[in-house]
């Protein structure tokens, strides 16, 4: 496979999952490293300098969120967290600790690849381009201009700031806390009312049908995501 394929570190204590990911990701052109526990993961991250880490939260030796926090203490390498269903508080904790995205088991490998591509693209083009284009939405960052299907939409300053955060992390899940902190500041971390109302308003202005949003997706119990279409 191509030398330029992404280098992926898979951290999971389940041999079956590691085998599946090793085979499938290799088929998508990735170079795959493996670790079965938290210490192995930390060692591999320093040893092989992967481009992205797929991290299972349930590890035998240490908590997945702990592993993530340690990695984040010296590296901004993209991390995608794997978890089983109904562990929303854990997902939120992982995202707040710096995870770039999460995926619930069972998952499709194509879905995982899509997430990998999103985080990789973001990490290479961190210098934001002046104009963001996603589906019918156009955001001209330089001119603070927003249009849907070519028609300009008038946003309040707060709505624009909120949208800007989504644009900067396009495709990535943002927790309530992250959004509140970035738009309103640390003091507003728990003011989910503000967020709920502004998201609702943004949807009315951007979505073709606010009741069936295509761009601003709610991740129940976790946060919101600007879906790339």
């Amino acid at each position: 496979m191509a030398e330029g394929g992404p280098r992926v570190l898979v951290v999971d204590d389940e041999r079956a999952i590691r085998r599946l990911l090793r085979t499938s990701l290799a088929a998508f052109g990735c170079t795959v490293f493996e670790a079965a526990d938290g210490h192995g993961a930390l060692h591999q991250v320093t040893a092989h300098r992967p481009d992205v880490v797929i991290l299972d939260l349930g590890l035998p030796d240490m908590d997945g969120v702990q592993v993530l926090t340690q990695i984040r203490s010296w590296s901004s390498i993209p991390v995608i967290v794997l978890s089983v269903r109904d562990e929303e508080p854990t997902k939120v904790a992982a995202l707040d600790a710096g995870a770039d995205d999460y995926l619930s088991k069972p998952f499709g490998v194509d879905e995982l690849m899509a997430r990998i591509r999103v985080v990789l693209r973001r990490s290479v083009s961190s210098a934001t381009e002046p104009v963001f284009q996603n589906g019918g939405i156009t955001v001209d960052l330089g001119r603070r201009f927003v249009a849907v299907d070519g028609r300009e939409v008038a946003l309040t300053p707060t709505e624009y700031d909120l949208l800007l955060v989504f644009v900067r992390h396009a495709g990535k899940v943002l927790t309530h806390r992250q959004l509140l902190t970035q738009v309103w500041g640390v003091a507003y971390q728990t003011e989910t009312q503000l967020l709920r109302v502004n998201i609702s308003n943004l949807r009315r202005k951007l979505e073709p049908n606010p009741a069936r949003p295509v761009y601003l997706i709610t991740e129940p119990g976790v946060g919101y995501r600007l879906r790339l279409v």
Partner: protein, 898 residues
């Protein structure tokens, strides 16, 4: 009556005896005829032998009286410390019964069977302790002197002039008891006495000397030997019966002894016991309650005490009411096949015998083929307590005896000229009879007296004088007197019998009433209530009903509890299946009498009733009423138990049926998708490496893979639902409420179902001013997904869905409607049951209902309820189903302006 084989009853007795024997300990009594013959010594020797054979021997209580040779024998035996009890300032050491039971040796040595326990012990007598040890399966060696045996008590007292107070009922020696005679020639015993080797409790030397006369000792020795020999006989008989050895069977003698309130009755009872023993006959005791005793509680009490003595001596006791002692006695004897009646020589004044004949005479006259034994009375051993005179009738009655006489005079006066005075007497006779019948004996005599006066004064010439001119009228006076007496006593007897019959009848009807009420009582609480109110009515006392609870007892529903001490007494009665507490031999210090509630199979509980405090144990006859109540109660409780058990069994069966249905449903729903996935994978694996030779084209391959993917998704959902259901039922769902826009909820649910909805038209009708709701976002989206998923599955492809919401006061009402097959009205509720799926009907043509476990709506309802909301289904006008959800709206509906 000759028998060559044991009859079935005897066999049954034998089986039961052996059955009990298997668990019960064996009793060995070292029987002596006086103190100092070496009983304790012999017992210790025998125990040492047993220990040498490997038995686990415990010295529970042995009194050596400081004799060195005896004490030496104690060496090497385990000795249980005695229990010390403080009694009136002195410390008394006694047998530690619970200690022995805890230690549970194979063999326990308990000296002096006739010992009376320290006040406050569990049982008043040591032999009762021994019974408990035997019941616990512990063998017991004990010692006993012959004069302490109840039936020998009188005889010994007569021979020696010393009455022993501590007696042991004969019942203690049953046919499994081994009696070992410890013998010593009287000369040697006297020698030992002289040497000071015999321990004699503080008795005057003179009394000791009198007791230990050679003549006395010889007589006592003979009695002890006879008792020991008799016991061997009994055991031999039992052995022969059990082996059906034809032999000199007892002729089936049955003795009946009449019990009366007389102080001599006790002597008669002991004599009957000895006779029965010698004849190896079964014996019974009968108390005939006559109107005379029924009306006089003190007589009745004494008779019942005598009856209780007979019971302790091993008699079967009976208690009947009748006006005639002899008739009741003979009648009972006939019915019970009694061969011999034992009666006492009368002690009444001779003149009464001459008038009425003695009771014995009357019995003999009607006894027919039954032998009648008459036992001499001897000197009364104790003075009969003086009996208070019959209570005199109220003065009023004497006044009432006047009017009949006046009336007779008024009627007779005008006629006296025409009718002979002799015939006028008839009027007075009528007056006397009236007084006798209605007013009793005293007034009748008064009436007779007044009649004679009035007759003489008004009717007999010369009138208005009391002079009797003609001696013939003396006969008239006598006649009036006698008629008055006879009629009044007959009438009194009839009245009293009727009263006795009424009280019996009352008891019977009370019991009938109780059984009727119990039959109607459903449940333990109702039964308890019935018993309590019944006892309150009949015995006017407090009642406690305790029921078995595992190994112990607990107060029944509706019954009060007991303090710790009383509870222990009740527990004893429960564990031993015998009455305990006040009025019994066991723990008589308790405040209630505890009767075991014995059903046909086991003891189900204990009934505690309040009985009058009395020093002596109350007899079986007096326990009759409470025992009858206890029996009825036990049966009623057993019936309830059985009904409950039957219900539980039914429930269990239903549950098992449901569970097996669930298991098969679950296994079907999990295996089907798994089978598809495995099938697809096996096909693809078989095609591996075939390259161009593969039979599968790209499209077929894609279809296979798509199938497997969908089925895996289905499997994931089923497992998720099962997990959710489990969490819901175990209460592991934690609701984390947050304020949510309904629009956001709907959007999230629809997004999750994007793939399933596909091109289906979903209309969303939400008012702009709809307030947000307070809900756990994850769970609420889950509910909406489940409901929407059902709507999609049970409506035709391409038919539209409608999701709408309205505000109603503080609630938000959500509706999800389809144009599908609808739900049969009878199933509108049941669709929310676990594992329930609407059966496919004709109306479902064109619909391809999804599989699944039928858990989605059940989970949704659980989540809604946890939110304080509601969910239900309705049939939609125009066809289809509407599922409605109600959620509380968030309190603050503030819309932040940006």
């Amino acid at each position: 009556m000759e028998r060559s084989r044991p009859n079935p009853d005897e066999l049954l007795d034998m089986v039961e005896a052996e059955d009990r024997q298997a668990k019960r300990g064996r009793l060995k009594i070292f029987l002596g005829y006086a103190a100092g013959v070496g009983k304790t010594y012999a017992m210790l020797e025998a125990a040492r032998e047993r220990q040498a054979e490997g038995a686990d021997v415990l010295v529970a209580y042995v009194e050596t009286h400081g004799r060195a040779e005896t004490e030496r024998l104690l060496e090497g035996l385990e000795i249980l410390p005695r229990r010390t009890v403080e009694y009136r300032g002195t410390m008394l050491a006694d047998l530690d019964l619970d200690g022995v039971l805890r230690r549970a040796p194979q063999l326990a040595l308990v000296d002096e069977l006739a010992h009376t326990n320290v006040l406050g012990s569990r049982h008043p007598k040591r032999y009762q302790d021994v019974q408990e040890l035997l019941d616990a399966g512990i063998d017991v060696y004990t010692t006993l002197n012959i004069q302490h045996l109840e039936s020998y008590n009188d005889v010994v007292a007569q021979i020696t002039g010393v009455r022993v107070r501590e007696t042991v009922p004969d019942l203690v020696i049953d046919r499994t008891t081994i009696v070992e005679l410890v013998d010593l020639p009287p000369d040697e015993l006297r020698q030992r006495l002289v040497e000071g080797k015999v321990y004699v409790p503080d008795q005057a030397a003179q009394a000791v000397e009198r007791f230990f006369r050679v003549g006395n000792l010889t007589a006592l020795r003979e009695m002890a030997m006879r008792k020991a020999a008799q016991q061997v006989d009994v055991q031999m008989l039992a052995y022969m019966q059990s082996r059906a050895i034809p032999g000199p069977w007892p002729a089936g003698e049955r003795l009946l002894v009449a019990v009366s309130p007389s102080p001599l009755s006790a002597r008669l009872i002991r004599a009957a016991k000895r006779m029965a023993d010698e004849m190896k006959a079964e014996w019974q005791a009968l108390f005939v309650e006559t109107p005379a005793t029924a009306n006089r509680p003190e007589l009745r009490e004494r008779a019942l005490a005598n009856l209780a003595l007979a019971e302790r001596l091993g008699a079967r006791v009976h208690h009947v009411s009748s006006g005639s002692v002899e008739e009741a006695l003979v009648d009972h004897a006939r019915r019970q096949n009694v061969t011999k009646i034992v009666a006492g020589r009368p002690v009444r004044p001779r003149w009464r015998e001459l008038v009425r004949g003695s009771l014995v005479d009357r019995i003999i006259r009607i006894s027919g083929g039954i032998d009648v034994y008459v036992i001499g009375s001897g000197e009364p051993s104790e003075a009969a307590p003086s009996v208070p005179a019959r209570p005199s009738p109220p003065l009023r009655r004497f006044l009432y005896s006047l009017p009949p006489v006046v009336l007779a005079t008024l009627i007779g006066w005008p006629l006296s000229d025409r009718i002979e005075p002799t015939n006028l007497v008839m009027l007075y006779l009528a007056a006397v009879v009236v007084a006798a019948v209605y007013l009793g004996r005293g007034p009748a005599i008064l009436s007779a007296f007044l009649s004679v006066l009035a007759f003489d004064f008004f009717m007999v010439p010369p009138r208005f004088t009391m002079a009797v001119s003609d001696t013939q009228y003396l006969a008239t006076f006598a006649g009036l007197f006698i008629v008055g007496l006879v009629v009044s006593s007959l009438a009194a007897r009839v009245r009293e019998q009727a009263k006795a019959a009424r009280s019996r009848e009352l008891q019977t009807s009370e019991l009938y009433e109780l059984s009727r009420e119990l039959a109607g009582a459903a449940g333990v609480e109702a039964i308890t209530r019935v018993i309590q109110s019944h006892i309150r009515r009949v015995m006017s006392g407090e009642t406690v009903v305790l029921l078995r609870d595992g190994q112990g007892l607990r107060p029944a529903a509706g019954s009060g509890g007991l303090d710790e001490d009383e509870h222990a007494v009740a527990t004893w009665a429960f564990e031993h299946g015998q009455p305990a507490g006040r009025g019994t031999d066991t723990l008589p210090g308790a405040s209630l009498l505890y009767l075991p509630l014995r059903s046909s199979r086991e003891v189900v509980g204990v009934l505690g009733v309040e009985v009058a405090e009395s020093a002596a144990p109350i007899s079986a006859a007096e326990r009759r009423v409470p025992e009858a109540i206890a029996t009825l109660a036990a049966l009623a409780l057993e019936r309830t138990d059985l009904a409950t058990a039957a219900n539980q069994l039914e429930l269990l069966r239903a549950t098992e049926a449901l569970q097996s249905a669930l298991l098969s449903s679950i296994s079907h729903e999990l295996r089907t998708p798994l089978a598809s996935v495995a099938g697809v994978l096996s096909t693809l694996r078989a095609e591996l490496g075939k390259g161009p030779a593969s039979q599968l084209d790209e499209a077929a391959r894609a279809e296979l893979v798509e199938t497997a993917w969908q089925e895996a998704d289905e499997l994931n959902r089923s497992v998720g639902n099962l997990l959710d259901m489990t969490r819901l039922e175990s209460g592991a769902f934690r609701i984390v409420p947050e304020t949510m826009d309904v629009e956001d909820l709907a959007g999230s649910a629809l997004t999750a179902l994007d793939a399933r909805i596909g091109s289906r038209e979903v209309t969303i009708d939400l008012p702009l001013d709809l307030p947000p709701v307070q809900a756990d976002s994850v769970l609420m989206v889950h509910v909406l997904v489940n409901v929407l998923d059902n709507a999609l599955a049970y409506s035709p492809h391409g038919s539209p869905l409608l999701l709408s919401a309205r505000q109603e006061r503080d609630e938000v009402h959500l509706s999800i409607s389809d144009r599908g097959m609808g739900i049969p009205p009878s199933d509108l509720e049941r669709v929310f049951d676990k594992f329930y799926r609407v059966t496919r009907t004709e109306a479902s043509a064109g619909i391809d209902p999804k599989g699944g476990l039928g858990l989605g709506l059940a989970i949704s309802r659980g989540i809604m309820q946890a939110h304080g909301g509601r969910i239900w289904a309705e049939n939609r006008p125009g066809g289809g189903t509407t599922v409605k959800l109600i959620l509380p709206s968030a309190r603050h509906t503030d819309r932040v302006e940006a």
